[in-house]
């Protein structure tokens, strides 16, 4: 998702004001962490400290056992943020990597807001960029407090103390560990402006440190929402409407109630919930339910009908998102003209862990366990339903088995459903709501269907002089709490982000239509860039061909004032051997795209057989994400973005028949499997710029690079995703 890129054009940094807010928390007592071993890192779990650790501020705790615990304000859904934030803290603290532990922060917007979003939440690939200065300053302040405590203990000047690997030393040879000084250091007044390290002296940042979550995620002990058990807990499975907007007309639960293990059946706003002693009886109970649905208010259109309506809309002027020069006039005067219509399907996130949430209601209390990605919204929504104040909602954030945007929901849909069920049984038992794969696949919140119509013109000199683009797709934030912030003059910026830019085309126009469709939509890893990068990079190749230029040559010309784009473009091209001959049937394609503050170029190598079947054999990626805090995590995120992007490009598509979703499980929505995965090489550009995003930026260039590679072999343009089994040859 892209809120950071929409709200804040540049990488966010901690202001002095926000830092003061952080430091004033020191000495105000211990942070109330999750208090549950489920959310504590493995190192802590293995050796529980005898006395509570000392909270130096909202982000750093140190125990007498030398354990440094980093309070992680972001959800981990695979992107490695527990390691990333711990690396930043260990660096400024001069801690040893082996003493680092972490825990997820509680829901507390005042302390743990994402500085790019203004609410507690994870998204827009902003976890490291918004935390970078905040966590450095918090750790540097803690270090200064430790140094002061050491100076007092040893009776020496503070500036004579050195710190390395978690040990403070004075010139005479005496030393003390963090743990030995923690209590005294916690009583030191925090410095107003702690000195930060010069980046040239970084020891951990930019090097390889082992991920802090690797052990727990390889021995089965990592805890996800699905693993939570509470005393007396019931598992809820919900019969959901077959179409978006349909309601329960009536239901008969007599057979469901007869299933052994089923305890209760309740009607809720989203369907009928079966509560049972475990998932299996709940599922059997749901199968035994008879529900009649009122579909009078439901969305009834099918995919073909929607595409037809979108195509018609693209023929009419839309809201103007970009307008440089006179695209229409320049197009009319162009020597050559290219026209293309692109279609992008609805996409499901299909994270491996289907959506779920555990809720326990008590008078004046609502406690939640879930992979919460928007703690602020989740807390507010739960409070409203439970009838308590937001601060009476305690959220225990757990590992999420993937998200790709799905758990960052403005209306907290599955969390709201869980709280609603708990309330419907009047809090008699803790409730674990567990969606089946089919629930998850059919619940909506898809990457919206999009249609693009693009026309481009080349003049007699072979220069691209006109680019006119119309985009049709549902607004993601319309009707949500974020609409006021993210929609300007009717335009949802997430629909047009990445369109047309950054190429030096003198006459560029981008318009958008936002039709109303009753299909719930949401950000999906890299959001608008999923379709705008494809239309831009594929169409640019076609225009370059019309201009008689090669793909790399054309991009270099149009990006001459964009050094970071050029840097990754040239690096990827060089490492991929761009221009070297390939055997018959093989081809290369390139794409470059900026998103979430980072610059990524990818070269795809494909093989297309005579019958049109094809394989993606190799992807070479160059990324400039500023300072790479954990270069190996950056590489992993590029590999993951490439795989997730390829998965969608090859086969993923949610289709509707008379408003009903046609897919149900991995039998008919078929993600990438290991045999589809190409060889991937990632090259990280050295940089001194502040860190920018990596979770999403690896994805947008992938599909256009693959499509451009296929067209390089077949000569046939590709205008629709997913690609499917065979290419036109």
């Amino acid at each position: 998702m892209s809120i950071s890129s929409l709200v804040s054009a540049s990488a966010p940094t901690t202001t002095r004001r926000t830092f003061i807010k952080v430091t004033t928390l020191a000495g105000a007592g211990f942070l109330v962490g999750c208090g549950d071993s489920s959310s504590v890192g493995p190192a802590v779990r293995a050796a529980p400290p005898a006395a509570p650790p000392v909270a130096f501020n909202a982000f750093v705790k140190i125990g007498a056992d030398d354990k440094v615990t980093v309070i992680v304000k972001h959800l981990d859904k695979g992107q490695g943020v527990t390691t990333g934030l711990s690396t930043i803290v260990a660096e400024e603290l001069d801690a040893a990597w082996s003493q680092m532990a972490w825990e997820f922060a509680p829901a507390d917007t005042a302390r743990y807001a994402n500085l790019a979003l203004g609410l507690q939440g994870t998204g827009g690939s902003s976890s490291i960029s918004n935390s970078w200065m905040q966590y450095r300053q918090a750790a540097a302040a803690a270090r200064a407090m430790l140094v002061q405590a050491a100076a007092e203990r040893f009776g020496v000047a503070a500036d004579s103390i050195t710190v390395a690997d978690g040990i403070l030393r004075e010139p005479g040879g005496r030393s003390a560990t963090f743990g030995e000084l923690a209590e005294a250091a916690g009583a030191v007044t925090p410095p107003a402006e702690p000195a930060l390290k010069d980046p040239t002296s970084f020891k951990l940042i930019g090097t390889h440190v082992p991920r802090l979550d690797s052990v727990a995620k390889t021995d089965g002990t990592a805890l996800y929402t699905i693993d939570v058990t509470r005393p007396g807990m019931l598992t809820a499975v919900v019969a959901h409407a077959p179409k978006f907007g349909a309601k329960v007309a009536s239901f008969d639960a007599s057979r469901a109630r007869a299933v052994p293990g089923v305890v209760d059946v309740v009607q809720i706003s989203t369907g009928v919930a079966v509560l049972a002693e475990g998932f299996w009886p709940a599922l059997k109970g749901r199968e035994a339910l008879a529900v009649t649905w009122d579909e009078s208010g439901a969305e009834q259109r099918g995919t073909a009908e929607l595409i037809e309506q979108y195509t018609a809309l693209a023929g009419a002027p839309g809201l103007v998102a970009h307008n440089d020069g006179d695209a229409v006039g320049a197009l009319a005067g162009a020597a050559k003209r290219v026209d293309a219509d692109f279609v992008f399907p609805y996409l499901a996130h299909a994270s491996m862990e289907p959506m779920n949430c555990v809720v326990e209601l008590k008078p004046g209390e609502c406690e939640i366990w879930t992979g919460s990605q928007f703690q602020t919204f989740d807390q507010m929504t739960a409070a409203q339903i439970a009838g308590v104040a937001p601060e009476q909602v305690k959220i225990n954030t757990l590992f999420a088995g993937g998200s790709f945007g799905r758990r960052a929901v403005p209306d907290s849909d599955y969390i709201a459903e869980a709280v609603t069920i708990a309330k419907a049984i009047e809090g008699r038992a803790p409730v674990k709501l567990q969606w089946s794969r089919e629930d998850d696949m059919r619940a909506g919140k898809y990457r919206p269907l999009h249609f693009h119509r693009v026309s481009g013109g080349v003049d007699a000199n072979g220069d691209i002089v006109a680019w006119n683009q119309r985009i049709v797709g549902q607004s993601i934030v319309k009707g949500t709490a974020l609409e006021a912030f993210l929609v300007r003059e009717g335009i949802d910026a997430s629909s047009v982000e990445g369109a047309g830019t950054p190429y030096a085309i003198p006459n560029l126009r981008v318009e958008v239509h936002h039709p109303d469709v009753g299909v719930p939509v949401l950000w999906w890893r890299s959001v608008g860039h999923t379709h705008t990068a494809f239309a831009t990079e594929v169409f640019l190749d076609e225009l370059a061909a019309a201009a008689g230029k090669g793909p790399v040559e054309q991009r270099r010309t149009l990006l001459k004032d964009h050094p970071r784009h050029l840097g990754v473009l040239n690096l990827a091209a060089e490492r991929a051997g761009w221009g070297t001959p390939l055997p018959a049937g093989r081809g290369r394609g390139i794409a470059v795209h900026e998103s979430f503050g980072s610059f990524v170029a990818e070269v795809a190598e494909v093989t297309v057989d005579a019958d049109g079947t094809f394989s993606v054999d190799r992807v070479v990626c160059a990324v400039d994400c500023g300072i790479a805090v954990n270069p190996d995590v950056v590489r992993a995120q590029m590999e993951g973005g490439i795989g997730y992007g390829l998965s969608a490009a090859l086969r993923e598509e949610i289709t509707l028949a008379d408003g009903a979703v046609e897919q149900s499980n991995f039998t008919d929505y078929m993600p990438l499997r290991i045999s589809d995965m190409p060889v991937v090489e990632v090259h990280v550009v050295p940089s001194t710029a502040p860190p920018s995003g990596v979770g999403e930026p690896g994805l947008p260039p992938l599909a256009p690079a693959v499509a451009n590679a296929i067209r390089a072999v077949t000569g046939k343009p590709i205008r629709r995703l997913p690609l499917g089994e065979r290419m036109p040859v």
Binding site: P210, T218, I226, T235, R437, E639, R673, I674
Partner: protein, 153 residues
């Protein structure tokens, strides 16, 4: 009549619905949550356990089908191949969200117990049933090769 079998070396009994999938018996009744639910139709492999050493999809395996047999989950993984796979996974930092990885590790271990030096094609064939939405496939291949080297080296 109760169904009994060995779970990670200890005898267990189930006297409920014999059609209950092994996954839910192990997770909800035995409290071993390392094996995950992803699809319920044997299409993702997150629920993979070993049945007498063979990897099976436990979301579609009724408890009745394992009567008298021996089941191993990620929690009970102790064979040399299993240890080597876990260590290789950690050394190469394969995991991202981690949700599918118990299943990946169970499939990879079973592969190495049958084939001490698998090729990329062997790996793809053995791991084809295990989905990873984080697309850690690239590192899974590398980690299986690394584990194989350690086991034979």
């Amino acid at each position: 009549m109760a169904i009994s079998f060995m779970l990670n070396g200890a005898a267990v009994e189930h006297d409920g619905d014999p059609a209950m999938p092994l996954l839910w018996f192990v997770r909800d009744r035995q409290g071993l949550t390392g094996s995950k639910f992803g699809c319920g139709v044997a299409m993702c492999g997150a629920c993979t356990m070993h049945l007498d050493g063979t990897p099976i999809r436990t979301c579609v395996t009724p408890v009745s089908a394992v009567a008298g047999k021996s089941v191993t989950t990620i929690e009970g993984l102790a064979s040399p191949a299993g240890r080597a796979v876990q260590e290789a996974w950690r050394e190469l930092d394969v995991v991202q969200c981690g949700y599918c990885q118990s299943g990946q590790i169970m499939s990879a271990t079973a592969l190495l117990e049958q084939n001490s030096n698998p090729s990329d094609e062997d790996i793809d064939a053995a791991m084809q049933g295990n989905l990873c939405r984080c697309a850690t496939y690239h590192r899974i291949r590398a980690a299986i090769h690394l584990a194989a080297t350690r086991l034979t080296g």
